[in-house]
């Protein structure tokens, strides 16, 4: 046994986790200080040089270095417009069909889902909740079609946590399976009114750039009633960032022409797309348009929405 071997495995004197953390903090503070010094230097230089100063350093974000997607939608693409006209959701956009939603759960869950479902029923109008009593999903689809529903939302739960959402668009429409996370219901939020007048809300969809993103927006759009009432000042937001779709529900107020103030009502959750199927929910023989591949060829900067 040489001396070198021993040294590599010997811990330093007075080593504990606390001390390690302290050392790390000290190093961090030093780094911060140096960063500030560098910034001040640059500012000075810029002032001195004036116009000849080198351009400002731009922070390289992940959004900048995102891997380009073949399916990003160019605005006013005739192909996309045509395919959207002949879509499963086109009936909604032509204002021939009004949305009618059916909410259920997986299994006979009673722990967390009813809260969320109550909030969502208030959020979207014209929807009803049915208890799931060991009916299989193809059966549910059949019954809903008979009663002319347009959408089914199935909320799944595991270990007392809401973790999934299946959105089936009827009669033949696509199904989307999402992963729900960081769910905050209205009962958990403070300063939230118990009731609010259900004016038809406005919608905001942000950062959906690819074809997949567009289909997802159309599906989510088909849940809402037509003709938003601007008088109500109610907003539903689906904001996509790095493949996470953040859902928020606000009431807004214009304080001036440049500024709005928002007050949050309604539930709050994030969606992550897992699969999209062409027809209704069928795991055996269904045709998948897209599913999330965790290992094969997906890097941190590759986003699909």
């Amino acid at each position: 046994m040489s001396k070198n071997n021993n040294n590599t495995y010997r811990k330093r004197k007075n080593w504990t986790k606390k001390n390690q953390k302290k050392e790390e903090e000290v190093v961090k503070e030093e780094k911060k200080k140096q960063k500030i010094l560098r910034r001040k230097k640059r500012q000075k230089e810029r002032e001195e040089l004036g116009e000849k100063a080198p351009p400002k350093l731009v922070q390289i974000t992940q959004e900048m270095t995102r891997l380009p997607d073949l399916t990003t939608v160019v605005p006013n693409d005739p192909e996309v417009l045509f395919s959207e006209k002949t879509d499963e959701m086109s009936e909604y956009f032509d204002k021939k069909k009004k949305p009618k939603i059916c909410f259920t759960t997986t299994g006979n869950t009673k722990v967390r889902s009813p809260d969320l479902i109550k909030d969502l029923i208030q959020c979207f109008g014209n929807s009803t909740f049915f208890a799931r009593r060991n009916y299989k999903i193809p059966e549910i689809v059949e019954y809903c079609n008979n009663r002319k529903y347009t959408d089914i939302m199935i909320i799944s739960e595991c270990n007392k946590k809401i973790n999934g959402l299946i959105h089936i668009h009827l009669p033949i429409g696509p199904t989307a399976h999402y992963k729900l996370s960081s769910v905050v219901t209205r009962s958990q939020m403070k300063h939230v009114p118990k009731k609010f007048v259900q004016y038809r809300p406005e919608l905001i969809f942000k950062n959906f750039s690819t074809r997949l993103g567009h289909t997802v927006t159309r599906m989510l759009n088909s849940l809402m009633p037509h003709n938003p009432q601007y008088k109500g000042r109610r907003l539903l937001v689906f904001h996509n960032q790095r493949d996470f779709v953040f859902f928020r529900h606000y009431r807004y107020k214009f304080e001036s022409k440049e500024k709005t103030s928002l007050s949050e009502i309604g539930p709050q959750f994030t969606l992550k797309l897992r699969t999209v199927q062409l027809g209704t929910w069928d795991t055996n023989h269904g045709e998948y348009i897209w599913y999330y591949r965790s290992k094969m060829g997906s890097s941190r900067l590759k986003w699909f929405l």
Partner: protein, 279 residues
């Protein structure tokens, strides 16, 4: 028979590769064992006359072993396909195992029934859709949670909503719903109010003269309103009141309960000089 005893003394009491010992029981892992327990009468090695029922691809087969074929292990077990019908299969077992000990017959029949039951269950399950159990990969979950938090920080949702709404305002979606520049609005109102007061005074004077009511159209006021732009829509007070506002007011009221109430009395200054003058 002697051979069987010798085998059992070697296998049953000493080592057997098919034996699995637990605290309560010893089991036999041999494929041909009738019930999986290691016992003298149930051991397929230590019985020269033996029979079992085994299942292959949904079909039940009767395996028989006789003394005549012990020396050829390749051809030791005779396979007989049992009929699909349960009662016929039982009859066949009775027929074939006529001269076998009763224990083997009973055990074989029991084994048959059990096999048939689980085959039925398998067939039924294939028709229905079974829930698929998916693994929860801790690493992946942790990674996704962190990415979600970072994405939230980067998203700046409220800022983007603000920009979106302002753009919509500029594009003209909300025409007719809002009025800005409150100062100008109030100035306009003041102007209109002042004019209205003047005209009222004129009206009163006219009334005194004429002694009747006259109705004059305020053309000037109308023109001013039109020139300013679109006619402002006045909201209901209900819309203006925040839902939070009511809660805040309630809270304030609650706090004030503790404090003592006190009234303020105003004394009227009496002009004593005037009084004296009058008097």
């Amino acid at each position: 028979m002697i051979q069987d005893d010798i085998i059992w003394s070697c296998v049953g009491e000493n080592f057997c590769c098919f034996k699995a010992k637990t605290k309560l029981e010893t089991f036999c892992r041999n494929r041909y064992n009738l019930s999986g327990i290691c016992r003298r009468k149930l051991c397929p090695l230590a019985n020269s006359q033996y029979a079992t029922v085994l299942e292959h691809r949904g079909k039940c087969l009767l395996y028989m072993k006789t003394i005549e074929r012990i020396h050829t292990p390749n051809k030791m077990w005779e396979k007989i396909v049992l009929p699909d019908k349960y009662s016929d299969a039982l009859k066949m077992i009775d027929e074939k195992l006529q001269y076998f000990p009763k224990m083997t017959i009973n055990k074989a029949k029991q084994r048959l029934t059990r096999i048939r039951q689980y085959l039925m269950r398998m067939r039924r399950m294939k028709l229905t859709v079974q829930p698929k159990l998916v693994r929860v990969n801790k690493k992946v979950e942790r990674r996704e949670r962190k990415r979600e938090n970072r994405a939230l920080e980067v998203a700046k949702i409220e800022k983007s909503i603000n920009n979106e709404l302002v753009d919509r305002l500029k594009s003209g979606l909300y025409d007719g719903f809002y009025n800005f520049d409150q100062e100008e609005f109030e100035q306009m109102l003041d102007k209109i109010g002042a004019k209205y007061e003047e005209e009222e005074e004129e009206k009163e004077k006219e009334k005194e003269k004429t002694g009747g009511s006259t109705f004059v159209i305020d053309e000037e006021a109308e023109n001013e309103m039109e020139s300013w732009g679109k006619t402002p829509k006045i909201w209901d007070m209900e819309d203006l009141v925040d839902d939070d506002y009511e809660k805040k007011m309630k809270k304030l009221k609650k706090r004030k309960k503790g404090k003592p109430k006190f009234e303020i009395e105003f004394e009227q200054e009496v002009n004593h000089q005037q009084k004296r003058e009058k008097n």
